[in-house]
Amino acid sequence: MNTPRLTENDVWLLNYYRLSEVNGALFFGRIARIVRGPLQVDVTHHFADEANHARYWTDCLDDLGHAPHRLPSGYQDQYLEVAGMPANLMEVLAITQVFEKRVIGVYRRHLRHPGTHPRVRQTIERIMLDERRHIGYVRTALEQMADKYGADRIEKAVDHFTQADREVYAKTIAEYGERFAHLTADYDLRADDDAYDDTYGDLDDAEGVPRIATNLGKGATLC
């Protein structure tokens, strides 16, 4: 079998993923510094995971003969601009839930692309195991915050950030066009659903978007 070669767009995209993970680590490092109580464990772990994910992408690029390079901005940079700054811990977790859903959706689509390099596939699969855990603890934490913030308020926050995410995603696709071609390709997403769920568990709705098994954050699908 011929191993697919990385195109220039592939290299750009892997660097984009890498930057996103670096930004995620920086963000969760900030939150890990100030979170109190039992959440300290999960948030600190999340921070470490994001840093590891950045390392995985760095190693992947290096293994494939490419040096990581700087990009002007990442996904999260536009996020706060469009979504606004989260002002409390609940909003931090709400925006995290939405963002993690997006990340999982993007990575899943990348995995489904038939031309994905085995080394890239390996990297995404490794990252996805952590992302699944992130979704779980964030979901639980948001449920536990209902007493303090109110379930309706949490749901509104998730809806707000979901709308912002859609806007940012649409802008990103529009701006970077062909770089994301494989993510917007019209191929059958359902073909591998059973195999995927066997590996990662039944997290997804029919569109391959993680289904958050709670009343919180329902309804959003990736555009």
């Binding site: 100030i34 979170v35 700054m85 002002a87 409390n88 811990l89 931090v92 109110g150 309706d152 308020r153």
Partner: protein
């Protein structure tokens, strides 16, 4: 009503987080003048909320521009939270 103690506590906490001497943080100090990036601002605001057990959201935060106003918000939310059994106000916008 903002008390001197509350403002001092907020200023001290901001000072500790960003390394700016507390004496240089006054009620009229603009939040934008604290010279922190967006991630650090999130850390700052969330830390203050956790410290003062308040729960205001984006909508309320968008209305404040100075450290004094932020301290007022924290004091107001804390007073609301400490009222026996009083439900927290639910803002009309997300957050």
């Amino acid at each position: 009503m903002l008390t001197r103690t509350t403002f001092d506590e907020v200023a001290d906490r901001i000072s500790a987080l960003i390394g700016l001497p507390a004496g240089r943080i006054g009620p009229d100090t603009a939040l934008s003048a604290l010279a922190v990036d967006s991630f650090r601002m999130v850390e700052l605001v969330v830390d203050l909320q956790e410290e003062f057990d308040s729960a205001f959201g984006q909508a309320e935060l968008a209305l404040v521009s100075t450290v004094g106003e932020l301290a007022d918000l924290l004091a107001g939310e804390s007073a609301t939270a400490s009222a026996a059994g009083a439900p927290r106000p639910v803002p009309t916008e997300a957050g």
